[in-house]
Amino acid sequence: MSIIQLDNLSVTIQNTPILSGVSLDISQGDFVGLAGPNGAGKSTLIRSILGLQPFTAETATLFDSPIRQFKDWHKVGYMPQKQTNKAKNFPATVAEFVLLGRLSTKHWPRIISAKDREAVNNQLTKLGIDHLANRPLSTLSGGQQQRAFLAKALVSNPELLILDEPTNALDPEIRSEFFEILQDLNQNHQVTIILITHDTGTIGQFANKLLFLDTKVLFWGDFQDFCADPSMSNYFGSSEQHHICHQHD
């Protein structure tokens, strides 16, 4: 089943081309590592897929529905960058915050039911933060906050999970735990994952596909193919290519 299909997607902002000619097809169960230098258009691509960024494309579908007409947002969990700054000044308990993730499963008037509260409790329990339910979001540690953000993204039981540099501010041990949670979701619950990361040395341990962008697609395909691709050796240099592939089991 195709989760995302893009054919020749381009984005221009104030007459500056940000992305051009992006074509890809992400299938159910894929774990895609999305990498590239700063300004490569990674976040812009994700914003386009989420309908937040105007684009041109021959085809752009999400769950086989044109992105511009897509309505089933409960199928998509999104964990954006820089939520920590917003959480710092927002007076919400963890449970209140995660509950917001249930709104995508409803239409107006979005009345919260006992079932929604139960879903929140279950999600917090699954991620091991149920004891933090009544704690203010702003008082959590970095690792606890990331779990709360993930709980919000997952509480609608999405089939596609998109994460924008979620492990940037985490120490290595917590980062590793976070990746294990993602791996479990992908392998045992068939959740399709797109993970934007600069951590190319680690992503190969978990992702089966790599999308490398630099305003256009430099590489899209299986990780193994990336490692064996001589044109990538020319682009990255064999040392950098080895670094990316080295961690890949």
Binding site: W73, A92, F97, L99, L103, I112, R135, P136
Partner: protein, 272 residues
């Protein structure tokens, strides 16, 4: 002391002031939390200035002033939102531009028309003790509509306040929610002008919310505490103003500031 209070409650104008004050205090506190968190605190000030122009327009043409002010201030609130959303003008600047338009229109109308200086004075500084029965019913009715709307759209409002884009990805029509906030704010401002006056109305939105944010851990708790502080300030403010024979609007605001300073002081001491 209790006898004095009971005696006060015998007066029908005190009863009207307290009932209207409780409704409007609740309204301002709840809406204020959303506005302060969205960094739109000064929209209250801007719209109050627009209401000055709109009230002057009503007085100049002999039309019931609130009947003119409510729609015009709603239009101004939506204009601010549109400017922020669709132009490169910042929120502060948009509020300033609309605010200046309102107050300068009011000054010119007041100057050209003459004759309604006393009425304009009452709107500038407010006097909840002079609230009429019609104004009381208007305050209760519109407060009921605004509070019901907030209750029905509560989670959407919270989500848009946290992050507009994430709310949009959840299928929430954020343009509708923004417009809703603008309309509710406009109605609240016009209603509150009678209570504390154009000069001080924004403080009713900002201060209880800012006080509650110092001491609350959740969103629901923030709304409850802001409401409690606001209603308490209104009740104390009205009683103190009557007993000391000082302007009630300014007394309500100073009571609010007293709570804020106390809470901030305790917080700073306990954090140090």
């Amino acid at each position: 002391m209790i006898n004095t209070l009971l005696e006060l409650l015998q007066y029908s104008f005190i009863q009207r002031a307290l009932i209207a004050g409780i409704f409007l205090g609740l309204l301002c506190a709840i809406l204020g939390v959303f506005l302060v968190l969205r960094r739109l605190s000064l929209i209250g000030d801007g719209l109050a200035h627009v209401s000055f122009g709109a009230l002057a327009l009503g007085l100049a043409f002999g039309v019931y002033p609130f009947g003119v002010a409510v729609p015009l201030v709603i239009v101004a609130a939506i204009a601010i939102q549109l400017m922020i959303r669709y132009t490169s003008v910042d929120g502060d600047a948009a509020i300033g531009i609309i605010s200046a338009t309102g107050i300068s229109t009011g000054i010119i109308l007041a100057s050209v028309s003459g004759g309604f200086n006393i009425d304009i004075y009452s709107f500038l500084f407010g006097n909840i003790l002079a609230i009429s029965s019609l104004e009381l019913y208007l305050a209760i009715g519109l407060s009921g509509i605004v509070l019901s709307t907030i209750a029905v759209s509560y989670h959407e409002l919270v989500y848009v306040t946290f992050d507009e884009e994430q709310a949009q990805i959840s299928g929430i029509n954020t343009t509708v929610i923004q417009t809703l906030i603008s309309i509710l704010t406009a109605i609240t401002i016009v209603l509150s002008v009678k209570m504390v006056g154009i000069m001080l109305v924004s403080s009713l939105l900002i201060i209880p919310a800012s006080s509650a944010l110092q001491i609350s851990s959740g969103f629901g708790e923030t709304l409850r505490r802001a409401s409690l502080l606001s209603i308490t300030s209104v009740i104390f403010g009205i009683i103190i103003a009557f007993v000391l024979d000082v302007p009630p609007g300014a007394t309500i605001v100073l009571t609010n500031i007293g709570f804020f300073a106390t809470i901030l002081g305790i917080r700073l001491i306990s954090d140090s």
